[in-house]
């Protein structure tokens, strides 16, 4: 299985022994050994095809790396974090996905016309229809502006998050969009911030230290 190691806060290292890793297009920083890169197509079938569709449908192009060797990944100095999944389901905004592989079942979750962040911020631009979901046992590497922080949510402790800072969430969580009248008047014209995402249940919400 591919081994994910964080070299530093901005670079991920993956060792391949014949497997295939999917990553955000343009994020390969360096490579050694016998690794072939290919644009990923919707052809084929099975898990990989699902994975492709999950992410490409959201407007993020993927490339696959397959072979024997090493690949370093990074993207414009954004922070990298590796989220381990032990049977849970991770929902994540597609443009925050750096890398994953076939150990996880990738899918999509319909959350309105723009994904959770898009829906909440009311952006009209045609970005995508789904938010990516990953399920199973394995790792997903995420990109964030500043470190990714996991906030624990418990039944007695719901958390509200600024949609621009939201990266994703895992566990058994329900999300609602909260419109705060106060908040609207506070920020005036900036529509994006007049909503918050409210998470209830049991799980982790990931945020970044920025409102991109």
């Amino acid at each position: 299985m591919p081994v994910y190691t964080q070299v530093n806060e901005k670079v991920l290292h993956v060792t391949l022994a014949g497997e295939e890793v999917f990553a955000r297009k343009g994020s390969m920083v360096a490579t050694k050994g016998d690794v072939l890169f290919a644009r990923s197509f919707l052809g084929g079938g099975g898990v990989q095809q699902l994975a492709m569709r999950a992410v490409t449908n959201e407007g993020i192009q993927l490339m696959s790396a397959r072979g024997h060797g090493e690949v370093w990944y990074g993207h414009r100095g954004l922070h990298v974090s590796v989220v381990p999944l032990r049977g849970e389901r991770l929902c994540v905004e597609a443009d925050n996905v750096l890398a994953f592989d076939a150990r996880l079942r990738a899918g999509t979750s319909f959350l309105g016309s723009q994904g959770l962040r898009g829906l909440a911020s009311g952006v009209a631009a045609g970005q995508g229809l789904f938010t990516s979901t990953f399920e199973g046992h394995g790792e997903v590497a995420l990109l964030s502006d500043g470190d990714a922080i996991g906030l624990e949510v418990t039944s007695s402790r719901p958390v509200s998050v600024d949609p621009q800072a939201y990266l994703g969430h895992k566990g058994n969580l329900d999300s609602t969009i909260v419109t705060d009248v106060n908040w609207k008047t506070l920020l005036g014209q900036t529509s994006g911030e007049s909503y918050q995402l409210r998470f209830t249940g049991q799980g982790t919400v990931y945020i970044q230290a920025s409102e991109r």
Binding site: D147, I149, L151, V159, S160, V161, I207, E211
Partner: protein, 206 residues
């Protein structure tokens, strides 16, 4: 006094038990509990300050958060530093202010003739009293100690703030023009003399 804590280098965590916190509007990234956010017309400096701010462009849109719970603040993934004040006065560029204790008095003061070429305000913000201030910088904030006979020269774009009894001068150096980097039109340095601390970010990004 409101409790400030850094979750990490770029995220500020403020616990409220009925207290308030003043922050840059829009810098809330998450909260739990029961917290209310409202627009703040003044930074606590009164009507005169508000008027001055409107004129000087040194103003920042502030909000006040109150209630019971935890609020996380961040902005542009910039590095954060908590500066506790115990009765002193801190001079700080308003672009670097993220959050502060509402018991602190803020004002804007005239700092001289800079900005004519740079587009900087002619004013800078002062924060005075007892309580925490969270400042932002591109890269970790550096604290320089200035003593008698040891003036410090600072690039205006890297300047964040200062405290203590310091005099600030503008040094127009012909040679300095050769130092002009990137898009900035600066042709001066800031010179600090006296005794105190100068805060500088390791970046010429404003």
């Amino acid at each position: 006094m409101t409790t400030f804590r850094l979750t990490n280098d770029r995220l500020l965590e403020v616990s409220l038990q009925g207290e308030k916190v003043m922050a840059l509007a829009g810098a809330m990234v998450a909260y739990d509990g029961s917290v209310r956010f409202e627009k703040s017309m003044t930074g606590g400096e009164g009507l005169l300050g508000a008027l001055k701010r409107r004129v000087t462009n040194e103003g920042m849109a502030l909000m006040v958060a109150s209630g019971t719970g935890t609020v996380w603040f961040a902005n542009q993934a910039r590095e954060l530093t908590i500066l506790p004040l115990r009765g002193e006065k801190l001079f700080v560029e308003s672009r670097s202010l993220l959050a502060f204790d509402p018991s602190l008095r803020t004002d804007s003061v005239f700092t001289g003739l800079r900005g004519a070429a740079s587009g900087h305000g002619l004013f800078t913000t002062t924060v005075e009293g007892t309580g925490n201030v969270a400042v932002m910088s591109f890269g970790h904030l550096l604290e320089f100690e200035v003593g008698p006979g040891q003036p410090l020269f600072v690039d205006p774009d890297a300047f964040v703030g200062h405290r203590g009894s310091l005099a600030q001068e503008f040094v127009f150096d012909v040679n300095w023009k050769t130092m002009v980097g990137q898009s900035s039109g600066e042709s001066y340095q800031l010179k600090f003399t006296g005794t105190g601390v100068v805060y500088v970010q390791p970046s010429e990004r404003k």
